[in-house]
């Protein structure tokens, strides 16, 4: 029911009109020869007294109700009804392996389907649902054509399972876009595309325009890997290089073509540090850039660090190489390292029991790009031991991260058994590693028991089955020991996880170092340079490994629980089904409980005016009051009933 309040402004005038009308129609007192007879009549009939008061009360009640009806009619009440018009829904199901990630007893895939079916149950039966998936080859696969029977939709959805590998849903999205490209003759408008995905697929991100797109919808040009060649016979020469491919203007979006790239902020920065005990003279030759930048001579004092900036221009194309060459006095005791790029000078060594680092761990490390480049694993800056200890004979020099390593060479003692299903019991919030972080719903499926902790170590996270995270120092070098692998816990699904790794690095190294993308050590031979970063930034944390959910702006509106609202524009709706714990990043969309709002029915609004009904009701009440209650005087009763003059002919003695 909707009212128009401005119409209520007429109510005082209406009441004034009724007041004046009432005064004009006010009946004068009726003279009677003797009021005593009337008083006696009042006292005579008990029935009269019992009947008259309710009659008077109901008469006034009807009068006020009629008055209220007239005032309500002035307000122009409108009854608004929503009529569901039906819709065609195309569901695109992402069947990548990441959708099989299971937390809390349900996988992302199962949660996605359950949530969608729950949302679908709130809609009327006039909707039709089509099911679109991806074949193993990446081709769109229509699992179910437009179907209104919910049982068939449910059975078709429940028949799907994730693949054991990654597939791209981009083709399926294009196909869904074609399906809903034109207004449906049944509903008269375009359909709706619902994507059930965790958005790990970068193609999905590109589809929704978060990454720069080149013409033709092709993948954007990127930094590509290049390898420089260094002559083996020159021991004191190091070389790093990379190449730039494609149109440079497409590489750096924003400025006009031909503008100096340096103005875009893209510089090749080389940081040189002399680790030796005496000064050295270096010759740095840069290939692939302007002439004046090709050769520079640099003198470095002992322990001196110098940053050389080489601006890249629009003419830069092809391989860019950086060669450091020591002078003739450069000896084996001298050590000069050069870092080029935008990464931090933290060499990383990852030792994993499964040949490759845990993907969640790799993602978390990549999130700390201001510290490290996980693939520039040279030297012994930071060592990560994932399930295995350091190689035999290799000394542990720098800080280290340990993940479920039995018998580590650390001041702690691990048991022989494992623990299962541990939850968080306590947090040493004063420790810098976990400062400012929350692990309320941390759950560890399996891990190694820590039975003893030395004096040089502290338990940072205490679990219900024993210590979960221990931080300490080993010979003055800090370390952090995790009693579990990230993949065996819900920790990766916390936004706190990359922040935890970064806290570890901050605790290890203090302030961030000089930005270096790659490092070349004189005399170490060839090295390669990865692209500085192709990751997406999200609030300063790289979420590439954490399955970012870039979506079109305006499609997601977060209000308490996860909720999607249609902004009226045509296009697919992305529903990310991550995990119920990944909600700590600001701006992060989570899919913990998708409510019915995410598939809110598209309804038509119909307004029906009730003013006429109000007036009719008021008139009916007034008529009822006049006929049966207040208006039944003998004269009116004579009008109402015929033959009522009998009362006038009755003589008193006949009574």
């Amino acid at each position: 029911m909707f009212l128009r309040p401005e119409a209520l402004l007429l109510a005082p005038f209406f009441l004034l009109f009724l007041f004046v009308l009432g005064r004009l129609r006010r009946r004068k007192p009726i003279p009677v020869p003797s009021l005593a007879i009337w008083a006696e009549a009042l006292q005579e009939s008990r029935r009269f007294s019992w009947v008259g008061r309710p009659r008077s009360f109901f008469s006034e009640l009807l009068l006020f109700a009629a008055l209220f009806g007239l005032i309500a009619a002035l307000a122009l009440p409108v009854r608004r009804t929503l009529v569901h018009r039906g819709e065609d829904i195309v569901v695109v199901v992402d069947r990548s392996v990441t959708m099989a990630t299971r937390t809390g007893g349900m996988s992302r895939f199962e949660r996605a389907i359950a949530t969608f079916l729950e949302s679908l149950s709130h809609r009327t039966g006039s909707d039709r649902v089509a099911l679109l998936s991806v074949s193993p080859g990446g081709e769109p696969e229509l699992c179910l054509s437009f179907e209104a029977d919910r049982r068939r939709v449910r059975s078709a959805l429940e028949a799907l399972e994730p693949y054991p590998y990654r597939v791209s849903v981009a083709a399926a999205l294009r196909f869904a876009d074609r399906l809903t490209g034109k207004p449906s003759p049944r509903t008269g408008h375009r359909g709706r595309v619902v994507l059930l995905s965790d958005s790990v697929d970068s193609e999905v991100n590109r589809w929704f325009g978060k990454e720069s797109e080149s013409e033709g919808g092709e993948a954007p040009a990127r930094w590509e890997r290049a390898t420089g060649v260094v002559s083996d016979d020159i021991a004191n020469v190091g070389f790093v290089g990379f190449s730039v491919s494609g149109d440079s203007s497409s590489i750096l979006s924003g400025p006009d073509r031909g503008e100096a790239l340096s103005e875009t902020g893209l510089n090749l920065e080389a940081s040189l540090r002399n680790f030796g005990n005496r000064g050295v003279d270096l010759a740095m030759r840069i290939e692939g850039v302007s002439e004046e930048s090709q050769l520079r001579r640099i003198e470095l004092a002992p322990s001196e660090t110098r940053i050389v900036t080489v601006p890249l221009t629009s003419a830069t194309e092809g391989e860019v190489g950086l060669t450091l060459e020591g002078d003739d006095d450069f000896a084996g005791d001298d050590e000069v390292r050069a870092w080029v790029g935008s990464l931090k000078p933290v060499p990383l060594s990852v030792f994993s029991s499964e040949g490759d680092a845990d993907p969640f761990l790799a993602g978390a490390l990549a999130a700390c790009e201001e510290w490290i480049d996980p693939r520039a694993s040279v030297a012994a800056g930071l060592s990560v031991f994932d399930g295995v200890g350091p190689p035999v004979g290799r000394e542990l020099e720098g800080p280290s991260l340990w993940f479920s390593v039995p018998n580590p060479s650390l001041p702690l003692e691990t048991g022989e058994g494992t623990f299962r299903e541990a939850s968080l019991a306590g947090v040493d919030s004063g420790h810098p590693v976990v400062a400012g972080l929350r692990f309320d719903h941390l759950f560890v499926e399996e891990g190694l028991e820590v039975v003893g902790v030395g004096n040089e170590a502290r338990v940072v996270l205490q679990g219900s089955r024993g210590p979960l995270v221990v931080a300490g120092e080993r010979g003055g070098v800090p370390f952090v020991y995790f009693a579990f692998r990230p993949s065996a816990s819900s920790l990766p699904f916390f936004s706190s996880f990359p922040l935890l790794i970064r806290n570890c690095l901050s605790w290890f190294y203090g302030a961030p170092g000089i930005e270096v993308a790659a490092m070349a050590v004189l005399g170490q031979g060839e090295d390669s340079l990865q692209r500085p970063s192709e990751s997406l930034r999200w609030n300063g944390v790289d979420l590439r490994g954490m399955a970012p959910a870039p979506v079109r702006e305006g499609r997601f509106v977060e209000a308490g629980a996860f909720r999607l609202e249609d902004d009226g524009s045509e296009g697919p709706i992305v529903v990310n089904f991550l995990d119920p714990v990944a909600s700590e990043l600001p701006g992060r969309q989570e899919t913990r409980s998708a409510s019915a709002g995410f598939l809110a029915p598209v309804d038509e609004v119909r307004d029906q005016s009730w003013s006429g009904w109000c007036v009719a009701l008021a008139l009916a009440l007034l008529l009822a009051d006049w006929l049966f209650l207040s208006g039944l005087t003998p004269g009116r009763r004579r009008w109402f009933r015929s033959g009522s003059r009998r009362g006038l002919e009755v003589a008193p003695n006949e009574l």
Binding site: R27, K28, P29, I30, P31, V32, P33, S34, L35, A36, I37, W38, A39, E40, A41, L42, E44, S45, R47, F48, V51, G52, R53, R55, S56, S630, L632, T633, P634, G635, R637, G647, L648, E649, V650, A651, P652, N653, L655
Partner: protein, 311 residues
């Protein structure tokens, strides 16, 4: 003659009085009264010859009763025949024959001004008719108003020659205020040495003072007759709302409307009428209730006990 009486009645029925002033001063009204007088004389021929009997015993010609002889009685009235048969001296008594004398009491309270045809107007017309008949028969008429005038005196009229003066007097009264109509009237009537007959024309809403007046008249052994004038508006009210005002006292009262109220009022009014009638019977007072819309000629005939068929 029956034809003339019938004409009188039909005229009176066909032309109800518009107002007391216009009716009494109307020559047609006097002609009707004269016709009415002839009819009354004819009806009571031999009974009202010349004189009218009196309640007092005296030396008239109408035998009334016997009583034992006492010392000082006139021996001319001793019935010697009874003495010869029974040996006891008995004296015959006769009614004193006096000229008819009537006291008309007209209620002028505000309640008498109620009705489409005012009860007071109707009562004054009836009073004028009765007075004329009395004056035409050599009688005496005393006019009293209730409430009485300031001096409390009664206007006395004798003979047909004073009929015009009587009519003027009936048109000169002022509407009285107050509710106790008969309270001062008793004092005025006490001054009258002879009070043979009294006719009260009222609505008798002041029942208490009427009861006292009736008791007084019974004590004076005065033949009394009450004319209870009612109007249709008070018998069966056409219009009544929730706000009523008393025409005499000015009091107002909220009365809820509805048929129950009307039924209760009709019963209450009937009880009032019966109460007045019962009081009259108790005090041996004649009583008649007339509607203000009833032709006054019929009312007068009813008062004199002349049936229509007889006429």
């Amino acid at each position: 003659m029956p034809r003339s009486r019938s004409r009188v009645v039909s005229r009176a029925e066909s032309s109800p009085p518009q107002s007391a002033m216009e009716t009494i001063s109307d020559p047609a009204f006097l002609r009707r009264l004269e016709a009415l007088n002839r009819l009354v004389r004819k009806t009571f021929r031999g009974e009202l010859r010349g004189e009218s009997p009196s309640m007092r015993q005296g030396q008239g010609t109408l035998f009334r009763d016997f009583r034992p002889y006492s010392f000082g009685d006139d021996l001319r009235y001793v019935d010697w025949n009874i003495y010869a048969r029974l040996g006891a001296m008995v004296v015959k008594q006769f009614e004193a024959e006096e000229n008819p004398e009537l006291c008309l009491v007209l209620d002028t309270s505000s309640s008498m001004r109620f009705g489409r045809l005012e009860k007071l107007q109707y009562a004054s017309v009836v009073a004028a008719a009765i007075s004329y008949l009395v004056l035409a028969n050599s009688g005496t008429v005393r006019i009293a108003f209730a409430p009485p005038t300031e001096d409390g005196s009664l206007s006395v009229f004798r003979g047909i020659g004073q009929s015009n003066a009587l009519f003027r007097r009936l048109n000169q009264f002022d509407a009285a205020s107050g509710t106790d109509a008969f309270r001062g009237l008793i004092e005025s009537l006490q001054r009258c040495k002879r009070l043979s007959a009294v006719v009260l024309l009222s609505d008798f809403y002041d029942f208490d003072s009427f009861s006292r007046l009736a008791a007084f008249l019974r004590h004076r052994r005065t033949r009394t007759f009450c004319v209870h004038v009612v109007c249709r508006e008070e018998v069966a009210p056409q219009e009544f709302g929730d706000h009523l005002v008393d025409v005499e006292s000015g009091e107002t009262q909220r009365i809820p409307g509805g048929p129950e109220t009307l039924a209760a009022y009709r019963k209450a009014f009937a009880r009032h009428c019966l109460r007045v009638e019962s009081e009259c019977r108790k005090d041996e007072i004649g009583y008649v209730r007339v509607d203000s819309e009833k032709p006054y000629v019929k009312t007068v005939l009813d008062l004199f006990g002349i049936r229509r068929q007889q006429a």
